[in-house]
Amino acid sequence: MVTYIIRRLLYSIPVLFAASVLIFVSVTAVGNPLAALKQNPLFSTQTIHNIQQRKHLNDSLPMQYAYWIKDAVTNKFGTPLLQPGTKIWDDLKRVIPHTLQLVLISEIFALIVGVAIGVYSAIRQYSIFDYAATTFSFLGFAMPVFWLALMLQILFTNIFIKWHVRIFYTSGLSSQNPGGGIHFWIDRLQHLAIPAMTLTLLSIAQYGRFMRASMLEVINSDYVRTARAKGLPERTVTLKHALRNALIPVVTVSALNFGALIGGAVITESIFQLDGMGPYFLGALLSQDAYVVMAWLMVTATAVVAFNLIADVLYGYIDPRIRFD
């Protein structure tokens, strides 16, 4: 197993190198990062010249790439285009934990509920519950995230206006004086609850469908029939024999989802004003800051590679038939 992990990690190096080249080429292909500034009266010729010097924008593209990689490795991804006093990595270090908190909460809830719904739908195929779960899933897939987010915001605001009880906050990460320890975390949960609900409701639909399909395939297989024939209780057959194998596709999907979500649930985080990877990326795009965009893309690419590896390792634990050579 250790050899396998080390080998996969070594494979990741050329993958990430290729990703860095692709990211640099695709972002620089969009155009000169100073083009928009030249139209902006707030940026004098002297200021633009200063930025060109700082960012080596007069050098050839390969040299610019080399400077960028050097900055990324030795200088915390360097600085944004216009704020030479800020380190990009310091900003990323700030926003990644915020995104992780949201993603962890929503993915865990979504997995628990989605898997449960999927399993129950499969073993009670064509029951009222199954039809209801299917309807809910289609609703979940079809529901625009911004609409659901706004509806939940309005709902909890109206609860506050009517009963003066603040169950959940509708935006932000923390109150002004949340206190320390447990008070801080309760306050944080009150802030993350609605965005987590938004993400969870959508993910439940996805995981529920995957789990149902996978479970249906497994419960009709020979070894499950054998387990039943041995006289094992239905609960043991379902949870120990069928579920474990049926989980593999869900693990793949959730690991890839998780990796991608490290890049931020852009819409959800932006609507709820959570200082995470999503709004950070959006801000960089709007201000056309190529250096921040490239750093964000590198971090996201790394997360996707890492979670792919985690998914592969998890297969071995879930299904002992899978071995790592």
Partner: protein, 544 residues
């Protein structure tokens, strides 16, 4: 019930109850009566050093920027008044301005705000090493002479009429910043070299949590009237819908959003007060009179007048803002704005004809006088040229897109076709600035002072993307730039404006309304529609 199920249910109940109890307590602690205000800021400053191009943003000066006072201040009525000091013309030749500072003015670290700070501010702004956002006026200063510890004479190389706007800029502390790289300093704090926060305004910066909030606390060294509130917290709420729910639900006490249609619902909300004014964002249509347009008709003043007559601007403004600001007037001057009493002359008012029949008759008369004939589709053709032009704006801006639709319909009724030509701003503005357009709806952000008009309307002006070519207007505006007598300056600018109302290189539309919403328990909050913004008088704010 199974014991483990019971425990699970009990656990969930305890968690929900504790959230509700904590939440109720949290809600109570947010009330304005606690001596603090939570302000929902619609943008987060990119960084805090608002002097530099990368950090320059209105929300930088409206939030953390209140820590740094300026000699003069722009009041809500657009007049510029003494604040931490004063600025007066001493001599016309060479143009010399005496800037004095309040004798009590000191920094939050106890040191006096001095003449050296004023000179240091000038030297920093003109230093080419630094990425300064605006050097206008400062680069006209030839030398500075210290009169005493609280007064400096600035001697200009060339006269600079809007010197009062120039000295509405914050003063920098020399002792805190000398020798430091101004491009990188004050990125996330206003500290001096020993780590103390610097302030000359009513509040000083306590903390800046990126992505979340800026906390300002009372500056006990403030030279003016003692601020009442203990603390003002700016939290970033950049999404309009989120901002609305935050103020409805009492999560913030005040917001100052861009006018959006959804805000209308706040007017009827009990416990909230709404102030709205005509601001200094001047929405207008620029007309490309020269190369780059799609029809030579745009080069003719009579055709541009016909376009102006075809539009019912008041009707359009009513449709756009009937719920947000029912009384919003249209703009009828390109240099001055509604609210500037005795200065604002509505030269473009003649183009506003509210009666549709009379409006169409006026356009028809102009077209007939120039031998234009109406085609089967109701659009005129003049000398073989169809009266069809492109009208573009920044795609995605709902109000502007709606304005374009309304004006398309109005012009079509009058026999002129506006072809939609909107693009996202990143594509739209490069086209405008390279003269590749016919009609462009966008805005200039003004100050109420006509500084910069020569650049926009003068021959060869860097922002004269209209190809407007009036020697008379250029001469009048250039003369106004050098006119030191305010009355003479107003006269020159208005003479230029009267000429432009005949030539119609631009059609002024309206001043985008400001929209200040706050908890009605708060006192002393007064909207300042100028660039000084809603936090111009935080020392007067009181919790009810």
């Amino acid at each position: 019930m199974h014991r483990s199920h019971f425990r699970l249910i009990l656990g969930v109940l305890v968690a929900v109850t504790s959230l509700i109890v904590a939440g109720a307590a949290g809600g109570a602690s947010k009330k304005a009566s606690a001596g603090s205000v939570t302000f929902g800021a619609e943008q987060e400053p990119p960084c805090l050093n608002g002097f530099t191009s990368g950090c320059n943003n209105t929300w930088t000066s409206w939030t953390a920027g209140i820590a740094l006072a300026s000699p003069l201040i722009v009041k809500p009525d657009f007049t510029i008044r003494p604040y931490m000091g004063n600025a007066k013309v001493l001599r016309k030749s060479p143009f010399t301005v005496l800037v004095t500072l309040n004798k009590k003015a000191k920094w939050s670290d106890g040191k006096q705000v001095t003449a050296d700070d004023l000179i240091f501010t000038w030297q920093t702004i003109i230093d080419p090493k630094f990425d300064i956002a605006g050097r206008s006026g400062w680069d006209s200063i030839g030398r500075a002479v210290k009169v005493n510890s609280k007064a400096v004479k600035f001697i200009y190389k060339t006269p600079y009429a809007p010197y009062k706007v120039q000295f509405s800029t914050s003063v920098l502390p020399k002792h805190a910043l000398e020798g430091l790289d101004f491009n990188t300093v004050w990125d996330s704090n206003y500290n001096n070299k020993s780590g103390q926060t610097m302030a000359s305004g009513p509040y000083k910066l306590q903390s800046y949590t990126k992505g979340q909030s800026i906390v300002m606390v009372r500056n006990s060294s403030f030279w003016g009237k003692r601020p009442t509130l203990d603390k003002i917290t700016f939290v970033f709420r950049t999404n309009t819908d989120t901002e609305i729910q935050a103020i409805r639900g009492g999560e913030v006490d005040a917001i100052y959003p861009q006018p959006q249609l959804q805000l209308a619902q706040l007017r009827g909300q009990s416990g909230l007060r709404v102030q709205t004014n005509a601001g200094t964002t001047l929405e207008h249509i620029d007309i490309n009179t020269g190369a780059g347009n799609s029809t030579p008709l745009l080069g003719q003043a009579w055709f541009r007048q016909a376009i102006a007559y075809s539009l019912d601007r008041q009707g359009m403004v009513k449709q756009l803002f009937s719920t947000l600001n029912p009384g919003l007037p249209i703009l009828n001057n390109l240099s001055y704005v509604n609210g500037q009493k005795g200065i604002y002359v509505p030269h473009f008012a003649k183009y506003q004809i509210s009666s549709k029949a009379k409006r169409l008759a006026k356009v028809a008369a102009i077209m007939k006088a120039h031998n234009c004939t109406k085609g089967g589709d109701g659009i005129y053709t003049c000398g073989g040229e169809r009266a069809s032009v492109r009208l573009g704006t920044t795609a995605g801006n709902k109000l502007r897109e709606l304005a374009v639709e309304i004006m398309q319909a109005q012009a079509k009724d009058a026999g002129i076709e506006f072809r939609a030509d909107s693009q996202p701003s990143r594509l739209f503005f490069p086209r405008i600035s390279t003269n590749k357009y016919d009609l462009a709806l966008f805005a200039w952000v003004g100050t109420g002072d006509p500084a910069g008009q020569t650049d926009i309307y003068g021959i060869g002006g860097g922002s004269n993307w209209k190809g407007y070519n009036s020697q008379r207007v250029t001469n009048l505006l250039k003369a106004s730039d050098a006119a030191l007598d305010p009355k003479a300056r107003i006269k020159l600018v208005n003479a230029a404006d009267a000429q432009m109302a005949l030539d119609v290189p631009t059609i002024p539309l309206y001043q985008k309304p400001t929209y200040f919403v706050f908890n009605s328990k708060l006192k002393g909050l007064v909207d300042n529609p100028t660039l000084q913004g809603p936090t111009w008088n935080t020392e007067a704010w009181k919790a009810g």
